[in-house]
């Protein structure tokens, strides 16, 4: 079953547009949603949550259209926006007391278990929590009302490496029994190398690729060759950089001829992102 099914999403702004954004997330998996700043990650996420009026397309969550079943589906969605805080001067206790009344599947026992596990003190104000703790508090809320889909916008941005690693471990534990699915956007690609099952890559409002992580990385090669070899592959390269030793460039695996003498390596997600953004720049 699909936790999230996005079909041909279009949304135009004066200087930016989402074009035919489509991707699917299987239930029980983690999908990393990557792209440079301004590539359309947050716009896509806002469209998923029905915060924007999309021009065309469809968003299905757990098989139901969000536009038609918004209230019902919000019972099943948990969210965290890494850079937006709500009611920071309120205590956790006060805020939870307010929030829990809205959810029919709220479970106090689960909630207190997560508070203990995440070492969250109920009597602290939101403003007193570190960035990582705020994300954990949002997760505790989401899981206590039985959210099946967690939509997290940049939950790890602004966290130190230890807190990030800790959070990623939690994400992985959450999906273990196959009930919870996570979509999280980030520009910190190393996070995804650690925990994502699927990768969706967006550049300038368009999905470049959405697939299983290994397949995603496997489909590109990072070439490293002498300047004289550049001409052989120049047309097939997604983009390249010249340096004093020659060049490095990114190519689709299918376009690469392994019999050529150019060194080829499997790129990291970060390298894929960088070379794609370079390609965008060259069009300008």
């Amino acid at each position: 079953m699909l936790a999230l099914d996005i079909r041909n999403l279009n949304k135009a702004y004066p200087n930016f547009q989402l074009q035919n954004v489509s991707f699917q997330l299987e239930k029980g998996y983690i999908m990393g949603f990557i792209g440079a700043n301004g590539a359309g990650k947050t716009t896509t996420i806002k469209s998923i949550l029905n915060m924007l009026h999309i021009d065309s397309g469809e968003v299905l969550i757990l098989g139901k259209n969000i536009a038609e079943h918004e209230i019902e589906l919000k019972q099943e969605i948990g969210y965290a926006f890494g850079d937006i805080d709500f009611y920071t001067r309120s205590k956790i206790k006060t805020l939870t007391d307010v929030i829990k009344k809205f959810y029919k599947n709220w479970n106090d026992e689960t909630y207190y278990n997560y508070l203990r596990r995440f070492k969250l003190d109920e009597n602290k104000k939101i403003a007193e929590l570190s960035t990582g703790m705020k994300v954990k508090y949002n997760l505790a809320l989401a899981l206590s009302h039985g959210a099946k889909l967690l939509v997290l916008d940049e939950p790890t941005s602004g966290l130190d490496p230890v807190a990030r690693d800790n959070l990623l471990e939690i994400f992985q534990e959450l999906v273990v029994d196959g009930e919870v699915s996570i979509l999280f956007s980030t520009h910190i690609t190393s996070d995804l190398e650690k925990c994502a099952d699927y990768i969706t890559f967006i550049v300038n409002g368009q999905i470049v690729k959405s697939s299983e992580k290994e397949e995603f990385i496997e489909s590109y090669r990072l070439l490293n060759g002498k300047e004289s070899q550049l001409e052989q592959v120049k047309d097939q390269l997604i983009s390249y950089k010249k340096n004093s030793f020659g060049f490095t460039g990114l190519i689709h695996s299918k376009d690469f001829d392994p019999s050529s003498e150019i060194n080829a390596a499997i790129p990291s997600l970060e390298e894929i992102m960088i070379y794609f953004s370079k390609k965008e720049d060259s069009y300008v």
């Binding site: 806002k46 209230i71 919000k74 019972q75 937006i84």
Partner: protein
């Protein structure tokens, strides 16, 4: 809807705004003052501060993510405004009665706090609501301009009403001297005022629930 109201009063509306009706209401003890001002403090202080608070706490996004309809989001906010307005009016009325008893020998140049005057106050709040609520929900974000225009209209109404009360012999007879003893007349002005307040607020709500779904969050 009930949960949303609880939410508003637990985290959205600061306790200060609940004490304000008593503080501003106490101004009813200033003898012979322009008592419209007592209620205008609600529009000048409470509304701007409260909506600034909503904005700085990202209330719109917070509320939107809860499993509630957009209609209920608007309805809860309208209820908050109306509840606070009623608190302001009722407490000012009580203090007005006490004030009336305290100062029996003063000359009122401006409206004396009687039922007819309170009827005018309801109309003033009705005018404020119909402009503020309807205008605010065009964006659900920009409260400044909405408040500016709504306060301007409410003050204009208060000013014109007061001026006519002094200048027009007909209105002067109603709101000053013997006219105040005509209970039936005074009560009917109050009732009409309340009816206008309800009608204007409901129109404001209808316009707001049409506009709010078009807002992008």
């Amino acid at each position: 809807m009930y949960n949303l109201l609880i939410k508003e009063f637990k985290i959205g509306v600061l306790p200060t705004f609940l004490i304000m009706p008593v503080l501003t209401g106490a101004l009813m003890f200033v003898p012979g003052w322009i008592y419209f001002i007592v209620l205008l403090y609600f529009c000048w202080i409470t509304i701007p501060n409260m909506f600034a608070g909503f904005r700085s706490q990202n209330d719109l996004m917070f509320t939107f993510m809860l499993p509630v309809t957009k209609k209920d989001i608007v309805k809860a906010k309208v209820y908050v405004i109306v509840i606070l307005e009623l608190m302001h009016i009722v407490i000012a009325m009580i203090f007005g009665m006490i004030s009336n008893g305290l100062y029996s020998n003063i000359t009122y140049y401006f409206f004396e706090p009687h039922m007819g005057f309170w009827g005018l106050c309801f109309v003033m709040f009705g005018i404020f609501n119909i402009i503020f609520i309807a205008k605010f929900y065009k964006t659900a974000y920009k409260y400044g301009e909405a408040i500016f225009v709504a306060v301007g209209a409410a003050m204009l109404f208060a000013g014109v009403a007061q001026w006519l009360g002094i200048q027009s012999p007909f209105l002067h007879d109603i709101f000053y001297g013997d006219g105040l003893d005509n209970m039936a007349l005074q009560a009917s002005i109050l009732i009409v005022g309340i009816a206008i307040f309800i009608a204007f607020t409901m129109i404001a709500y209808r316009v707001a629930i049409k506009r709010f779904p078009k807002v992008e969050i």
